[in-house]
């Protein structure tokens, strides 16, 4: 009798470990299933993969990204495609993927960083997000990979967003700007023209509002969505430098134009410019107001372009009725109409303490080049590398956007990416409070100023 209980426990443990072994043994080597279906028949890699000898040591590269096959099918396919090409050219290299969705990805990156166990290659965001990792010496400088012409293939200013103290720590994959999309059908129904000035824009809002149409779709639970509106108003009023200087501490956030921009936001809220309940809706929910034709305008990044051009699950009729315009200029303001809010999105980093750092850098370089060749045509993602519009087949809206990108006078990086993480949280909370009229424009500016000061004093 005495032996009975320990035996039970021992059996449970034994069973658990036996199962553990089977679980381990069958763990796969290459990301998820959708990838496996297309790693097969790809064109052999080109020379620049630097196919080193098959005799080389076996190398396993860990890569973490946020493009699961379910929601980001095309991106995921391209990633698998590039990996297959690289592995073919470098038979000694195996690349293991780990895929997490956005939020979980950020959490895991945090845990891995605290444990100094980052993957060899992973994704990061620019500026404020990246700086703590660079200061903590977790990311490797990638300037050597930029030599030999790669630097010139990037749209100017994009790699700089990932630079700290003159060294570049990640290579960007995406470049987005944020136009105002509008529903042409609704505009023509109420005889509205695309507004050139902010006064015109206000009239458009008024007309739509008085006709019972929600003028602007917004889901501000996510908060960076409302930030876009504030940033444009700040840019058009004070010019691109005012906000940048306030953030980099050569200026003040209590600059009159930054306060005025906050006032203008509240004027829009007071004029019922946004759909109902916007402060409690996610971006997905806000967007649906535009997608179902209930709201007339939507300010969002160019990552939405597939929904307005190629995405078959969106009705053709709706896709055809979407146009875009540049955020109008404000009379007396210093901003110009070719100045954009946007910037590079995710970029690839190489971990500083990676045991296969050189191989990882080589892979990142290869990845960026290959990505640039196909991301826009296959996945509708505008890469940070230059796209020759004359050589690729693209929907007209893409060509228009790429042309606008070509003549952009300035791109101001999304405020929550520009700022350090702690200040970004203050900014985002303040944005939601501003839109909810919980804070006065003056206090909005003051709170920013205090947070920025405190951060600078650290």
């Amino acid at each position: 009798m005495f032996k009975k209980k320990p035996l039970t426990v021992a059996m449970t443990v034994a069973l658990a470990s036996a199962l553990a072994l089977t679980g381990c043994g069958s763990s796969n080597n290459n990301g998820n299933a959708a990838g496996e279906t297309n790693t097969g028949g790809n064109a052999p890699a080109e020379g620049n993969a630097g196919g080193n000898a098959a005799t080389a040591e076996k190398v396993t590269l860990k890569m973490m990204h946020l493009w699961p096959a379910g929601s980001s099918k095309q991106q995921n396919m391209i990633v698998n495609d590039i990996i297959a090409q690289y592995q073919e050219a470098n038979p000694n290299v195996t690349i293991k993927q780990e895929i997490l969705e956005n939020e979980q990805y950020k959490n895991k990156l945090k845990v891995l960083s605290a444990s100094n166990d980052l993957p060899d290659v992973g994704m990061t965001w620019a500026a404020g997000f990246l700086t703590p990792y660079v200061k903590g010496q977790l990311f490797a400088p990638l300037d050597d990979t930029l030599e030999g012409g790669l630097k010139d293939s990037f749209v100017s200013g994009t790699t700089e967003a990932y630079a700290v103290d003159g060294k570049t720590y990640a290579l960007p994959l995406e470049l987005n700007i944020t136009p105002v999309y509008y529903n042409k059908a609704i505009f023509s129904k109420y005889n509205l023209e695309v507004p050139q000035t902010y006064a015109d824009f206000q009239k458009v809002v008024e007309t739509l509002q008085s006709n019972g149409v929600a003028p602007i779709a917004l889901g501000n639970k996510d908060r960076w969505t409302g930030s876009l509106w504030y940033m444009y108003l700040a840019d058009r009023l004070g010019g691109p430098e005012t906000l940048k200087n306030a953030i980099n501490r050569s200026g003040s956030f209590e600059d009159p134009s930054l306060v005025k921009a906050a006032e203008d936001v509240q004027a829009l809220v007071n004029g019922s410019a946004f759909n109902k309940g916007f402060n409690g809706l996610s971006n997905d929910e806000g967007k649906s107001e535009f997608m179902n034709g209930k709201a007339a305008m939507y300010l969002m990044g160019t990552w939405e372009l597939p929904n307005f051009t190629t995405n078959e699950s969106v009705p053709q009729e709706f896709r055809d009725s979407v146009g875009f315009f540049k955020f109008p200029t404000i009379e007396g303001g210093k901003g110009n109409i070719d100045s954009w809010v946007g910037g590079p999105g995710v970029g690839l980093f190489v971990a500083e303490n990676s045991k296969v750092k050189e191989e990882a850098k080589k892979f990142v370089k290869f990845f960026v080049e290959k990505w640039g060749e196909q991301s826009v045509t296959k996945a509708g993602v505008i890469p940070a590398t230059k796209v020759d519009t004359s050589k690729v087949q693209l929907p007209q809206m893409y060509i228009d956007i790429l042309n606008e990108l070509g003549k952009a006078s300035n791109i101001t990086l999304f405020a929550d990416v520009q700022m350090s993480p702690a200040v970004a949280q203050t900014h985002l909370n303040m944005i939601q409070a501003l839109f909810g009229k919980e804070v006065s424009p003056a206090d909005f500016a003051k709170n920013h100023e205090e947070a920025l000061k405190q951060e600078a004093g650290k």
Binding site: K5, A114, Y133, K135, G136, G277, N279, Q425, Q432
Partner: protein, 292 residues
């Protein structure tokens, strides 16, 4: 009796495996959280010892106290909701036809993950085509109630799904406790002429007192460290109006990269739970009742 049931070896054998697991996987993190709470640390670079700086900041942080107040309110509502769940369990465990089926149905929502529950309630609360507002509109109510973006009502709006989410959990526990009462005791009371209400209040309730005490502790501690639905449905917003301690801690540690401060909040939260639990046990201290 005493000798057999005091066998040290057996006691160790029964208690130590579980205790070892809990000490290793829960206490080590608790101790480390306390330790990180004394540091200035972004979770990435080097740590710097700052003593009680994080705690003095905490004491002056009005956003934290707001979140603590919200969590305490949630704890209060959760504790009160137990009365309703107990009532349902009493009815279900009585002599009602179809109780078996009803019980199963009542517990279904408990099986849903927080992701599903959050999506369901987001749809219920949607300002324009949500269930509640559509219903109000069909009753002739004018105007739109913005359940999750109005700072005055968001807290109550978010409490409802949280409390509902745990209905199954508590009904299940109460039901099992009530079913565990030997039917001879209930029968004896009935022969003495007690009506169902008297049986419930005078016989059944006292017999499940120890279970009830446990549920009160669980409800209150669970509320104080609650996170899931708030994170998905409002993210603590708008502007902190539905922030609770755990979501505030998450914001500081994982979003603001202030892991030291986040850990201090986590540790403080633990202390609050300890104090509250101690109070509950003091207040409800009494004789343990046994069936005889």
């Amino acid at each position: 009796m005493d000798k057999v049931m005091s066998n040290k070896k057996m006691i160790a054998l029964y208690v130590l495996p579980a205790l070892a697991l809990v000490l290793a996987l829960i206490y080590v993190p608790i101790v480390l959280t306390g330790y990180y709470g004394l540091m200035k640390w972004d979770g990435i670079g080097a740590m710097e010892f700052v003593g009680l700086d994080n705690y003095s900041r905490l004491v002056q942080d009005s956003a934290f106290w707001q979140s603590a107040y919200h969590a305490l309110l949630l704890a209060l509502f959760s504790a009160l909701s137990l009365i309703a769940y107990l009532a349902v369990a009493l009815v279900l465990s009585g002599e009602i036809k179809g109780a078996n089926l009803l019980r199963k149905i009542y517990l279904i929502p408990m099986l849903l993950s927080s992701v599903a529950i959050a999506q369901l309630w987001l749809k219920i609360y949607h300002p324009t085509n949500g269930v509640v507002n559509s219903l109000l509109a069909s009753l002739g109510f004018e105007g739109t109630i913005e359940w999750l973006s109005d700072t005055r009502i968001v807290l109550i709006a978010i409490f409802i799904p949280i409390i509902w989410q745990y209905a199954g959990f508590y009904i299940l526990i109460y039901y099992a406790a009530l079913k565990n009462i030997p039917s001879s005791l209930v029968e004896a009371a009935r022969i003495d002429g007690a009506n169902p209400l008297q049986i419930a209040l005078r016989v059944k309730l006292p017999l499940i007192a120890s279970v009830s005490k446990v549920t009160v502790v669980l409800a209150i501690v669970g509320s104080l460290k609650y996170f899931d639905l708030i994170y998905v449905m409002t993210d603590g917003g708008p502007n902190g109006a539905s922030e609770v301690m755990a979501s505030y801690m998450y914001d500081q540690a994982f979003r603001s990269f202030d892991f030291g401060y986040g850990s201090a909040i986590g540790f403080f939260l633990l202390l609050i739970c300890l104090v509250v639990t101690w109070l509950i046990r003091k207040l409800t201290a009494g004789e343990e009742i046994q069936y005889s």
